[in-house]
Symmetry: C2
Subunit: 335 residues, 2 copies
Amino acid sequence: MMQFLSLDAIAALSANLPQADDAARTAAQDRQNSLTKPPGSLGRLEELAVFMAGWRGTDRPRIDRAQALVFAGNHGICAQGVNPFPQAVTAQMVANFTAGGAAINQICRVVDADLEVIALDLDRPTADFTAHPAMTEAETLDALNRGAAAVDPGADVLVLGEMGIGNTTIASALAAALLGGSVAEWVGPGTGADAATIARKTAAIEAGLKRHAGLDPLATLAALGGREQAAICGAVLAARAARVPVILDGFICTAAAVVLHALDPRLLEHCLVGHASAEPGHRRLIAALGARPVLEVDMRLGEGSGAALALGVLRAALECHNGMATFAEAGVSGG
Amino acid sequence: MMQFLSLDAIAALSANLPQADDAARTAAQDRQNSLTKPPGSLGRLEELAVFMAGWRGTDRPRIDRAQALVFAGNHGICAQGVNPFPQAVTAQMVANFTAGGAAINQICRVVDADLEVIALDLDRPTADFTAHPAMTEAETLDALNRGAAAVDPGADVLVLGEMGIGNTTIASALAAALLGGSVAEWVGPGTGADAATIARKTAAIEAGLKRHAGLDPLATLAALGGREQAAICGAVLAARAARVPVILDGFICTAAAVVLHALDPRLLEHCLVGHASAEPGHRRLIAALGARPVLEVDMRLGEGSGAALALGVLRAALECHNGMATFAEAGVSGG
């Protein structure tokens, strides 16, 4: 399913959106209230269990397979000097992922997620958006479809992440275009930009916004985005079609999801924000989505690392939900 | 070691405190800076890895054995109607821990911690502190020693938790006595107290503070505390003697640790606060300790549940620290 995303297919999905199962949610909440603890005392763990119950359509949801997808792309905007690292680092980091040497590899091992890294035409960066649209419509749809096709509809949860030198600039541009506000409010240090680099990031984004103003969300994605952002959108849509809950990562991943939010806020109902990144714009994005991050541990790495760490909390939530005794089972008074 | 805690032994420990290994910390920080990520981008995970390196005395700390200790006690203050649950629930929950049905059992399984539950004379509650000191000096030292004796000096990290109907009242009393402020600021709903119960909690604590004013920290522990609070103090001290880092749980566990902080703030240098509880006084306690919780997920259950969940983050931190490639190893530019 979702192998052939098109603008029409996205509209059709929006018109007939798979929903969470309210009966399963209610049954899961009833179970939470029967477990040997004061009602509500597991806080967000209870909310996460009920959320999972709704999307998986069962009062006792399990995570047998957690899929983690990391999409990588390269960006023509790097010609504007927006990042201290050379663009070759994207492919080098993909090799590092493949060899098991990156943070996301270690965290996926701890939380038992199956990691797949998908490099999207790294030798063919998008265009510099200060001069041209970053991608054609065909390139955008291709990346959307590659993201959608990567999703295992049999997974119980999907962790999304990204890698791409220069892509905090992409994320800031998408955020400013779709949510408004001054560019400076959306621009941060990324991988470690100094003040001069930040000034170049800001100027490049301002030029891009001026050149590509007044576009609809998907045209904005094409004009200012990148392949990994489009792939994230495709994966979120494919996951929704299969009622697979999604854990979004940090600033870049969330900014990509904002494209879908701008199309139809309901498209993100099955998504959690795994953590609040230390990249300053992320909290503004989270607020714009009306979301609440699972973790706040000052991470700002990308790669899906914060989302994967949040999967550990989700696993604990479901272990409590499924494994705890009820007051009646345990013979504990007062339930 | 630490089998025979006494007031003199605590003073002797304070006078000759085991310290973190600065060379190991520095070497661990150097390693963090060499790993394939922008420096600092793993946020608190980097801090946690360096913290562990210092206390374990190696630049590559591991968690081969994580010990979780949950101490349970009963409290004479329950005669004042401070808790909606009957006191028998303490023993019922201990049986639930033993049978594997509580939240802490599930979370310990997820984060691979070895759980031990130590019931401290549940059939012999402490005295009602509105009328008498809760414990004699001998009872206090006995509980301190039982906590200390339970610590495995060969563990790599110690998770501490507690169970005891009525013990948010104990925690609020200790906090108010040791840190000052109005009693109302330290009193919250606990397991689900209504307004009338909260009023009784507040009145009971005010009476206790009036009766047991002007005492030193350990005498305050005896007068207002309970066996599980004393055992937590003993375990923190024994862990320090063995340079085993500690993860404190929520309001009650942290309030117990405040007794040690009042004796000598350095006694808690090896302790993390695992999470910020939804019990309102906990954030005030955390601020008084100058600590920062690892997690903020609205838990307010006790049992060590929040501390155990934080162990999952600590494990991820060390997996990244030990398992990631360096820039040189991975052939990634820009390190």
